[in-house]
């Protein structure tokens, strides 16, 4: 089986979905002739031509707004926003239209749209180029929010997103793009939205993350095991909306402890929702308060300070120790 990085896996998925369904159209800034700023759409323009791989003007609200209309009118647009920090002009379109069209029309019509966008730090950029603002989209009823952790996951989850009847925001962890390779089957496959993944079984503590942080909690779990501190269970949420609380709650009922990790700012981050759900559904099983390991309530900084901003294995291990000490 081929070992692909996430860029290749997503590219392959888009190619196969476009082959499978001629209603699938890719559009965005530089996605065509240039192959995308991160080269994710490389080869699609040559394969499908300018009618289905469309270079748009630089205008995010225009891209997403038009994609909404295309989706209502029967297409399956996959719009790319170059960095998630550039998505805010399109936020209006997503919140005011994409998210509520099904409800507004009482199911008469829907918006089968995917917005793909790289997010998160670790690429030595800052601000708009490194933000992790998934919670801002999770809060909007009617949007689905998906964050793949590795290449295999990305291909299967994106296929589901493209085939999904509702609008999906697909956050691609920029730092994972070329950092790791996993085995990715050549043939198309789907991973259902709304179902978390049990990455590692354990009994002492549940580690919960999504996207780029899954690798970190996994490493933390291995270190905790190697040092004889704890056997950690590792849960990759995969999709934040819908949120598979069952997998999380079942795990926490077993382990009695939970650590949630995200690189987004702490206040109002999705970790707060995870923590609240655990409190509501499993409080009597808890041996310690839920611990959050997060970014800070600040704008992602440049270079050196980013090393402090980002949660790392060390911070997760320390959070587990804190939970165990309680």
């Amino acid at each position: 089986m081929a070992r692909l990085n996430m860029v290749e896996a997503i590219d392959q998925c888009l190619l196969q979905e476009m082959q499978r369904d001629e209603r699938v159209i890719v559009l965005g800034e530089d996605v065509g002739r240039d192959g995308g700023v991160f080269r994710v759409t490389e080869g699609l323009f040559e394969r499908f031509g300018p009618q289905r791989v469309i270079d748009t003007p630089l205008a995010e609200s225009g891209i997403v707004g038009m994609a909404i209309g295309m989706a209502i009118a029967g297409f399956r647009p996959v719009a790319e926003i170059q960095f998630s920090g550039f998505a805010y002009p399109a936020y209006d379109q997503l919140v005011c239209h994409a998210a509520r069209m099904r409800n507004r029309s009482r199911g008469e019509f829907t918006v089968p749209l995917v917005v793909r966008t790289p997010y998160g730090g670790g690429i030595r950029a800052l601000e708009h180029h490194s933000e992790s603002m998934e919670a801002v989209f999770v809060h909007v009823p009617g949007l689905k929010v998906v964050v793949p952790a590795d290449p295999y996951e990305a291909k299967g989850l994106l296929a589901s997103a493209v085939r999904d009847p509702d609008p999906v925001i697909f956050f691609e962890p920029a730092r994972v793009y070329r950092a790791i390779r996993t085995e990715v089957p050549e043939e198309p496959y789907t991973i259902p939205l709304g179902k978390a993944r049990m990455v590692r079984e354990g009994r002492d503590v549940t580690l919960i993350a999504w996207g780029a942080q899954v690798r970190i909690i996994r490493e933390a779990a291995e270190r905790l095991a190697a040092e004889g501190v704890a056997e950690a269970e590792v849960v990759d949420l995969r999709t934040l909306s819908p949120f598979d609380h069952e997998t999380v709650i079942d795990s926490v009922k077993k382990t009695g402890r939970a650590v949630v990790v995200h690189e987004a700012p702490r206040t109002g981050g999705f970790g707060a929702e995870v923590s609240a759900q655990i409190m509501e559904r499993a409080v009597l099983h808890l041996e310690a308060p839920v611990v959050r390991v997060t970014g800070f309530d600040t704008v992602p900084p440049l270079a050196k300070l980013e090393d402090y901003y980002q949660p790392d294995v060390e911070a997760v291990v320390e959070a587990v120790r804190e939970s165990l000490r309680f």
Partner: protein, 353 residues
Amino acid sequence: MAPPGTAPEKPDRTPDSKEGGLGLDSASQDAGLDCERLLSLFRCMVRIRAFEEHAHKEFLKGEMPGFLHLYSGEEAIAAGVMDTLEDDDYIVTSHRGHGHLLARGSDPKRMFAELFGRVDGYCRGKGGSMHIADMSRGFLGANGIVGAAVNIGTGAAFAAKYRGEKRVSVSFFGDASTNRGTFHEALNLAAIWELPAVYVCENNFYGSANYQSDYMKLKDIADRAASYGFPGVVVDGNDVLAVRAAAVEAVTRARSGGGPTLIECKTWRHWGHFIGDMARYRDPAEHEAWLKRDPIPSFKAKLLAWGVASENELAQIEEAAEAEMDEAVAYGKASPFPPVSELTAGVYKEDRP
């Protein structure tokens, strides 16, 4: 009908052709400027070029974080416009903003410190290349969001007018940014309230990887001004005196209560959209033709022809700029990284004394 995104086959986009033509008479006059003024324009452009070349070199060494968007090739615009401004005027610019800062008098040492992410930078090393601000010079910031300058600059123009000040606000932005809804909103506001705003479009013909005719039907972006009801002019952005002459007119209009102007400067970036972008989307013939229109050698030739300075004197200016930027790089690198406490400082006022 051609499908969306279809470009004409192999168009000739060299500067003097029909497709890529400037349609301009670039033979600018010396505008009655004295020798010192002419040399200061030359010095300004040379310093910007030297800064960008140093930044490029350091970036390729891998010592500079973030993204780097070079201004090389567009120096005549920053030099020509800034020369017409007063000390208290406002300036807002884009991700390609080093040239505007230097032309405004900002210190290349502190700029390099910022590019290296060091504490002596203009933003204490937290902003990097794309977000340098220098309030001491009315410089309200470079900005990582394409076209952000037009809205912020419009607000600054409103403030000046509201307070009855004679200040002008100049916004710099690229060609592709004029397709954003925000551009329309800002220019319309400036028009209805007759704000003292000057909008300088640096049209280098490419919005990232796409040629102008791929993303707009207009040949001249200046034509957009007509839809807001104020003047729009096209100038050869590689001719510092032509830029300066257009800026004098626009700034005078703004300062005297005549409202906004859109100046479109046709120019060329010598490098890709950012360093790392190999600009394979450009036709080599087009690129070569534009390099021959490099604003610095062409102005240098004029200065020599007019007897403003000798070959030797101009060479000294170039050497001085090199030495200045060597020193600025060294200063930037010697500055320490910001302390960890800086991470959460400055989000709100109370975070910093």
